[in-house]
Structures are given as C-alpha cells and as structure tokens.
Amino acid sequence: MAQKLFISTSPHIHCGDTIERNMHWVITALIPALIASFIVFGIGALIVTVTAVASCMLFEWLISRFLLGRERSTLGDGSAIITGMLLAFNLPSNIPLYQIVMGSLVAIGIGKMVFGGLGNNPFNPALVGRVFMLISFPTRMTSWPEPHQLLSYTDATTCATPLNLIGQISGGNAAAADSLPSVWNLFLGNTAGCIGEVSALALLIGVIILLCKKVITWHIPVSILATVAVLTGIMWIVNPDLYVNPLYHLCSGGLMLGACFMATDYVTSPMTHKGMVWYGIGIGFLTVIIRFFGSYPEGMSFAILIMNAIVPLINNWCKPKHFGEAAK
C-alpha cells in the first residue's frame, strides 16, 4: 500500500462552509449601507469606517500575537473587519480619530479577546465599544452632522436626528413635528444619524443578501421589527398627537442596523429558532421602552447588550423540539 489513507470517521464530506465564507458575506451585505452613508455623509463616513476597521484589525492582531501568544492570528476570519465596520456604522461621521481608535481597542480587547476570541464573547464586541464611547464621549457621540456636507469631517455642522425630534414630540413639543423628515426620506436615508443606520433601504438590501446566502435566518430581524412595530403602533393608536406612527420608528435610529446585523451576530444570539424569536421580542420590547421612557433617544445598543446577557438562559430554556417527543 503506497498511499497513506485518512481514517477519520464519517461524515467524510463537508458542505464547504467556513467561518470566512459567512464573515465575508456579512461584510458584503454591509457594503450597500456603506455606499449609502458615503452618499449622505460624504468623506467623513469613509474616514471613520476605514479608521475603525484598520484599528480593530490592528488590535486583534496585536492582542492575539503578543498577549495571547498565538502563532496563527485569527485575523483571517474577517470577524475583526465586521466589528470595525459595525462600530463605525454606529458612530456619527464627525467623530475624532483618537476616539474611534479607543473605541476599537475596547471593542476588540474587552469585547472579544479577553474572553478568548471569536466564539467565546458573551456580548457583541462592536456594541461594547460603542457603549463605551457613548459613556466616555457623550457630546461627540450625540451630535450628528447634517447630511450632504460631503467634504467636511469633524467640522461639519450638526443637527438633531429624527429620534431626538420624536423624543421632543412625546415630550409635548408639537412644533418639533414640523422639522421631522418624511418617512420616505427616512427610508432612503436622507437624514441625520449614525453612519450606517441612516438608510433603511440599504440595510434591507444587505439583510436580503444574508438571508439568500443562508448566513442568517429570518427569526431575529423579523421578531425585533414586528415587536417594535406592534408596540409603537399601539402607542400611536392610543395617542397620535404624542406618538409618531410606527413607520417612523422602524426606519429611524439604529433599529434596522441593530435588528439586521448586530442582533444576528452568531456568537451572541441564541441557538434555537424558538430562542431567537424570544430574543428578538426582548430586544424589540426593551428598545421601545428605552426610546419612550429612557433618557437616551436610542435604545437599540442597550437592548441588544441586555439581551446578550440573557442568551445563555434562553439557550437553556428554549430547546429544539426533540424528535419523537410529541409522540411520547
């Protein structure tokens, strides 16, 4: 016998899926949103995104190489690129560079690598970084540039986001309703806000790519959006003067970005379809609560982080239906 045969046991074939393939599709799905943000915010969006991605990759490499002493870095799997992109997408386009770098360090270092790298982190790393920045640099993090200042970066003039306005309306300031952009503009992204979250249309294109490529399942995005729509719908029916209609809520703020890309992160979402639906309902519920009653205008990041913490419990509660159990 000349050839040495492999003798590992069945299955002997693989569908060909790899971590890289999944990550690359997520990156591809984020591209439309990146393009939309470039059209809306111009050069600032690109600067922030490139800085965040580059610093996330750098920190991942440094930490895995020198702190963890791993021979082969996990940089190739593309998860650091996604963390960087998602972090950037959650920032305003006029934020200073050093703040982005610090946010990236927290996202990769504390959000992911301290737990042992990809697969072990309980919280979405990009959101850990984002929330750290929100608390550390509150002024820069809550002042958003007006759209269509294509060539300005940190010097861009700022304005209120639709969610600020919605908050003011519920606060009794009916005049704020006049400056609220139309739903169509919100849907296209022709409004102020974080880089990646402005265009619901671009995000929807991205999520359709992910669904078609079977990278994610529909359970999480649909359950989040449905919960938000139902809850805000109820409020709107009860008092249309104080509360705007659900379409505004669905298209504004980080909801679409969070529901489609942040909450669906493999590592920090539940393992069963049933669990995913509950997780989505929880995120939707918390988002609405924070939007209506919290001091922050946007609650998506906190809602996802809180639900991330509950995921192990959800995994214990929501078991897949075991074959033959019904017949018992």
């Binding site: 016998m1 040495k4 045969l5 492999f6 003798i7 590992s8 046991t9």
Partner: protein, 299 residues
Amino acid sequence: MSPILTAILVLGAIGLILGLVLFLVAKKFHVDEDPRVGQIIEILPGANCGGCGYPGCAGFAQACVNSDSMDGLKCSVCKSEVMQQIAAITGHAVQESLPKVAVVRCNGSCQNRPRVNTYDGARSCAVAALQTGGETGCFYGCLGCGDCVSACKFDAIHMDPETGLPVVDQDKCTACGACAKACPRNIIELRNRNKLDRRVYVSCVNKDKGPVAKKACSAACIGCGKCVKACPFEAISLENNLAYIDFEKCRLCRKCVDECPQHTILAVNFPPKKVVTEQPAADAQPTVAPAQDQEQKNS
C-alpha cells in the same frame, strides 16, 4: 425626627432583620460534620485527582473518618508520613504500601512502528480507539493523542514529539492512576517504584501472534517465551502472545532483558553495563537507559 436618626434607625432595623434571617437559616440548614474531616482535608494535597477512588479529597477524608480501619484507604499522592498523620487523626493503624509509579508499556515510536494511515479526527485517544484500529498496524499500542497528558493533574506526563509516545516524569508522578484510567488501550500501568526507582517491564501490550505483531512494530512482544524460561523467579507469565512481568515477584535480575529478541523488555535506572554484549550495534538499540537519565527513554 432628624434625618440622621431616621437613617440610623432604618439601617439598624435592616441589620437586625437580616441578622435574624441569617441566624435562622444557619440554624435550619446546619449540617453536623465530624471535625476530623476538616483536619484531614487540610493535610491532604487537595488536587482532587481521584486516585484514591473517592470523589476528590473531601470524599476521601469522609471515607477515612467513616471507615473502621484504613484498609484500602490510601492517598496515592501523599507520602507515608501524611498517611500516618491521617491515621493518627482517625485513630486507626496505617496500611503500609509500596510507592508506585506510572509506566507506559508501549515501544511504538515512529521508528519502531511505521505509520500506515493518517488519523485526522478529533484529537482524543478515546475517540480514535472507538472508531478505528489506529494509524499503525498495531491495534494495541499507543494512539498518541495524549488523553493521558490531559488527565494528569500533576504535570507528570508529556508527549515526546520525537517518539510520539507519552513519557512519565517519575519525580512528579504520584501514581494516582488517572492516566491509566484515561488510556483507552490500557497501556499505562502502575508498578512498584523499587529501590532507586529501578524497574524492569515488558514495554508492549500487543496480543497479536508473533508475525503480525512483528510486522506492525519492530519492538513488539512476539510471545516467544524466552523471557519466561530465563526468569529464575517465575515472575514472567505468557498469555495471549504477550509476556507480563509480575512486579511483586520480579527481583530486577535483568536476565529477561538480555534474552528478549525484540528488545521489548526495558530496564530503567540501572547503571550502564560494564561488559558490552555481542549483539550487532545497529540492531541493538540501547534498551538500558543510562542511570543519569531520569526519564524512561524508548530510544
């Protein structure tokens, strides 16, 4: 009422109530424990290796206290002084037993036992043993995935990257038997340490017939029985084409070592022999490890 007074009263009340609750809970869930158990746990090593057969050191301590004598109770990790201390606490006579050490009974280094296949499944001997005969023609020998290494709580067993076999660090080995239990092929055996840690043992567990075993591994026991005849103390038995040296009977005379045509019988920690035997040098790999070398070498 001044705010300070309110605060003092409220905090005081909370403290009182909580204290009461704690008191009641402690009363209700109080467990009577023999104080000797705690004393024994303190002098035990606390590695929870399970070598004694009880679930951890606490289980062993409990067993020591509950038992009427020290029969069968032995912490394989502790020195005999510690066992004597335990015996003093429980008030029983201590059982004397000879110290032991784990011995890897396989000679199947990459040189002796050529690889004929490649196993690339889960890196675990238990998994490999369940599924396949292994990478070599020998279906009894070491699988080389290192289950024994991960089982050892004392960092006393390591894989030799050259031979692909585990090597026991006899200074660190406490003879807890975890590696022997972890090995799916029962290669590792606990044997007496003897004087100066000298040992003579058959370094093979292959039960195949001679030609099959020899084809698979050039250092395999072929069951020829020469060692059985050579042994003046009837310490060697031959069963299923495999020789075994009973360490209780073996007097370390090393007659069998010279007799073995396969150089399967190893003698470790003996001083090098003065007279050079007439075996051809190329074939006779040094079966006697030099005395200064503390580890077993399979050459």
